[in-house]
């Protein structure tokens, strides 16, 4: 098998560790000196904390400390400072951490936690985004007016309400758009919150060394982010905080924020800096740590009779739960991409984030674009129906093309946008669209297809940056060190492939350092937004260029010629005109020794960095701006076999065609796309955070919160279009999360066609379809 470079399916570098149980995740560090922490969490969704009695808990032998919010009077948050790591005064969601108990063992800490007596005074609950919006709704935060805004100009809270964010995007002339519209459709959608369910629950260890050095070990997608926030809120120099991230057992956005790390730090501080391990139970991971946002959306689209989109109005209200975290940013992202990958010259979008007494939210695979895409793509199908037009044809007709502009007025070209039409064309064949959207099979069964398009750019900080270091070993192999965490998709392997391609060497001779340590690893913003291969890949290429330059310099001395005459490849520096005249890089990588015994040079270290240029914040009144460098686009479809008698269904096939720019690792790319599709089918068909009338979480377990299981998966059809992005390493685009985006919508479109009912509120369980059909009198 070819093992040089990109475009080949190199198994993950850490494969052997992962199939032998030797791969070490953060919870796998078992040390006798560790103390263990257990959180006391709220049993109410909204309540005043009247008192906390620790006496009984302290009576348990082996309890070393109990920390409550009063000992930590800070407010924090990445966008607005509205959150206290341990609740103070009141609790705002079921599962909110109130105290943390530190004990000699997890059993001791947990037993004592069960004995902490919290006296609550229940308060009226804000249990839906619609309710949050009402003027007479209870207020989740009374102090919204005085909270510190971290990123001015990106968040616009409305004190005295539950409205935390209001983003406006205005493009073209809406009035004119409606006048030109011959067909108008309007619909509302409601999508529940859901959970990330990384198989490794969120967890962290913290320790404070005698010299004040703070060490945080975390299962995180953002070690540098933890470093930044721990140092900021505990008033430490940045370098006084070291964060280490080993292999991570899945993230999906849920491990981008800083949450349990704060609590672990407080726990360690309370026991004189001794190392403390805090591992969330699955129930805590699902209720205490942040989840995926909910959405209430209304969309109105107008088109000419030929299907050309003329006008669009979007109201997107996101349920961000009790605290902001990245909720306000996700509203911005949704607004910026509100039109979908369709040409819509006249549009208004109002995107809100509202506080509710639900679990707070953070990034979720696709930065929650799957939710807004659901609303848009359902509306597109309704429009197609109203026009009497084929749904795929309608999408193709309106597909954005180079030269068009995005809702925030970014001019599109083939680099930053790719080729959606090619994706749609390919999808049509792949899913055999022309056999018909709905086919009666007899026996009460129907086969139906639904489609959706996807697009997404990242919401990166305008100064997000990445670096890479290449070090050569005595045997001529290389160590590649980057700040990206390996959370599953095989990024580190892809990065090694990028380096192997550049150096034209065997990827097996490139070692990647799996663990990230902020005190030793080069920086990377966060392992999020499908940007790792793009950002870090560019840094790796820069480092490779630096590395090659140094090799050639010393190679020139050895081979007695100018560096310009040399090439690097196959572990050698050789003469371009005659590759048989060469020197092994291992001979020069750590200094070159002349036959006489004297030496020159030294270890060669390549370094490179990358920062994204041209990102601009959105204008507060029009939304003009540029959130990310490029979109990845694609088209998806789902085919179902629906039983009209009992409203059950089988997902038969699911297809995705995506413009990947350049596929670095075919099996790996197919895997992450299918993984995203699988998650999208789960959300579309069964996943939802269920809250009681009192706002208490009813299904915080995998027994009642169902994921897709083996055998429930359909046949997956995945293909790629390759329109290179000149700015991406070898033309690649970030696609790791995108597989999820259009799938819930495509599923709903297929099922709506099958059941001949509007299915606008996932999850689409047989009960939900039965209900919708009953409502429609079927």
């Amino acid at each position: 098998m070819n093992t040089v470079g990109i475009g080949i399916s190199i198994p993950k570098k850490e494969s052997n560790d992962k199939v032998t149980g030797r791969a070490k995740y953060n919870t796998d560090h078992i040390r006798p000196e560790l103390l263990h922490a257990w959180m006391v969490t709220s049993i109410y969704a909204h309540a005043r904390i009247k008192s906390i009695d620790l006496a009984k808990a302290y009576k348990i032998t082996g309890v070393r400390a109990i920390v409550t919010g009063d000992s930590c009077p800070i407010l924090c948050g990445p966008a607005i400072e509205d959150w206290s790591p341990l609740a103070r005064g009141k609790v705002r969601y079921f599962g909110e951490p109130i105290a943390v108990v530190v004990g000699d063992s997890e059993a001791i800490a947990k037993e004592a936690a069960g004995l902490v007596q919290v006296e609550y005074e229940p308060l009226p609950v804000v249990n839906s985004p619609a309710q949050a919006f009402q003027a007479d709704s209870p207020k989740v935060h009374e102090d919204l007016a005085i909270y510190e805004i971290v990123q001015a100009g990106t968040i616009f809270p409305q004190p005295g309400t539950n409205i935390l964010q209001h983003v406006k995007v205005k493009k073209g002339d809406l009035q004119k758009g409606w006048q030109e519209s011959e067909v108008v459709v309007e619909a509302s959608y409601s999508l529940p919150q859901a959970n990330h369910i990384a198989m490794e629950p969120r967890n962290a260890r913290a320790e404070i060394k005698p010299d004040g050095q703070v060490i945080i070990d975390s299962s995180t997608q953002g070690p540098f982010n933890i470093q930044k926030f721990i140092s900021k809120y505990f008033k430490l120099d940045n370098s006084k905080v070291t964060v280490r991230a080993p292999l991570v057992g899945g993230g999906f956005g849920g491990k981008t924020t800083v949450h349990v790390e704060f609590i672990a730090y407080l726990a360690s501080r309370a026991v004189g800096g001794r190392p403390v391990k805090l591992v969330e139970s699955r129930e805590q991971d699902m209720t205490s740590s942040p989840c995926m946002l909910g959405l209430q959306a209304s969309i109105k689209l107008g088109a000419a009779k030929d299907g050309t989109l003329k006008a669009g109005e979007f109201t997107l209200i996101t349920d961000v739960g009790a605290y902001c975290d990245s909720g306000s940013e996700m509203a911005r992202g949704m607004a910026a991409d509100c039109s979908g990958p369709y040409r819509l010259d006249n549009l208004h979008c109002d995107a809100y984030s509202v506080y509710t007494n639900h679990t707070f939210v953070t990034a979720f695979r696709s930065f929650s674009r799957l939710s807004s895409t659901f609303a848009l793509e359902r509306t597109m199908d309704k429009l197609a129906f109203a026009l009497g037009m084929d749904p795929l044809e309608l999408r193709k007709k309106n597909a954005l093309r180079p030269g068009d502009t995005s809702p925030t007025m970014v001019r599109l070209n083939k680099n930053n946008f790719g080729n959606l039409e090619a994706c749609l064309e390919k999808l049509k064949t792949l899913i055999n669209w022309d056999e018909g959207v709905r086919v009666e099979l007899g026996n009460g069964k129907v086969r139906a297809k639904g489609a959706a398009c996807l697009w997404k750019t990242s919401s990166s900080s305008p100064n997000a940056h990445s670096s890479a270091i290449i070090i050569i070993n005595d045997d001529g192999t290389l160590n590649l060190s980057v700040g990206a965490v390996e959370i599953g998709p095989g990024s580190k392997t892809c990065l090694a492939q990028i380096l192997a391609e550049k150096l034209r060497m065997d990827v097996n001779k490139i070692h990647v350092i799996m663990e990230v340590d902020t005190s030793a690893s080069p920086h990377h913003w966060k392992t999020v937004a499908s940007m790792t291969n793009y950002m870090v890949g560019n840094a790796v290429l820069e480092a490779a260029r630096d590395f090659i330059r140094q090799l050639k310099t010393i190679g020139g001395i050895v081979l007695k010629c100018p560096a310009e005459m040399l090439e690097v490849g196959s572990g050698r520096v050789y003469l371009r005109e005659d590759p048989e005249i060469f020197v092994d890089i291992k001979e020069i990588g750590s200094g070159y020794q002349y036959p006489e015994g004297n030496a020159i040079g030294g270890q060669i270290i390549g370094r490179g960095n990358f920062i994204m240029p041209h990102l601009l914040p959105m204008d507060p009144s029009t939304g003009r701006g540029r959130l990310g460098p490029a979109w990845a686009v694609g088209a998806q479809a789902v085919e179902v076999e629906f039983n009209q008698r009992d409203f059950s269904y089988k997902i038969v096939r699911a297809a995705t065609v995506m413009d990947a720019g350049k596929v670095l690792n075919p099996k790996g790319a197919r895997g992450v796309v299918m993984g995203g599709m699988s998650m999208g089918l789960g959300y579309g068909s069964r996943e939802a955070a269920k809250y009681s009338t009192g706002g208490q979480r009813e299904n915080p377990q995998l027994r009642t919160y169902h994921l897709l299981r083996l055998g429930e998966n359909p046949q997956y059809l995945v293909e790629f279009v390759e329109t290179p992005d000149i700015n991406g390493p070898y033309g690649m685009r970030g696609i790791a999360e995108h597989g999820i985006i259009g799938i819930p919508a495509a599923l709903a479109n297929a099922l709506s066609a099958a059941a001949q009912a509007d299915l606008d509120c996932p999850p689409l369980t047989p009960q939900a379809i039965w209900q919708a059909c009953k409502g429609a009198g079927k």
Binding site: S9, P11, K12, E14, S15, N16, D17, K18, V19, T20, G21, R22, A23, K24, Y25, T27, D28, I30, A107, I197, A198, M199, E200, P201, L247, V248, G249, G250, G251, F252, V279, S281, R282, I487, G488, P489, G490, K667, G668, G671, V672, M674, G675, M677, S678, M679, Q701, L702, R703, L707, L708, R709, L710, G711, E712, N713, Y716
Partner: protein, 155 residues
């Protein structure tokens, strides 16, 4: 009658080795394997029997070690992922990209390995019934199904 009234010694047969450990009667097998024996291949995830990440073999049968007391395992042969050496299913998982983050992998491997041993010619329906006991959040299951099918004997 065997009784264990408080924390004390247990003797377990793990991966062909006889091991003596200190445990509480209420300690789960998962906890003792990880915290006392350092066998961290079995993973804690739901600790409720729902996800299968902690699956080990007891007398060759897959068991969720979060729902078994360590003391119950006395007298039985326990195999953890660390006890799998160059088995076909391990290679098949690598070749088929049957994992991403790898956190569910140990549990899946144990279940798959047991199936291959107990029903080497398992039908698709039997395979599905067995492997539905484990959850994976990264892959689409297509890769795991392929990895398993490549190891089962064709009938």
């Amino acid at each position: 009658m065997r009784s264990m009234l408080r924390e004390g010694f247990l003797e377990l047969d793990v991966n062909g080795e006889h091991r003596k450990v200190v445990a509480r009667p209420a300690d789960t097998l998962l906890h003792v394997l990880r915290e006392r024996l350092g066998l961290t291949g079995a993973k804690p995830s739901c600790k409720n029997g729902d996800c299968g990440a902690c699956t080990v073999l007891v007398d060759g049968w897959p068991i969720k070690s979060c729902l078994m007391l360590a003391v119950e395992a006395e007298g039985h042969l326990i195999t953890t992922v660390e006890g799998l050496k160059n088995t076909p299913i391990q290679k098949s998982f690598v070749d088929n990209f049957a994992f991403q983050c790898g956190y569910c992998t140990s549990g899946f491997l144990m279940n798959c390995h047991a199936l291959a041993q107990i029903h080497p010619q398992a039908s698709y329906a039997t395979m599905r019934e067995w492997l539905q006991s484990n959850l994976c959040r990264c892959t689409s299951y297509e890769e795991i199904t392929q990895a398993m099918e490549n190891v089962l004997l064709k009938t």
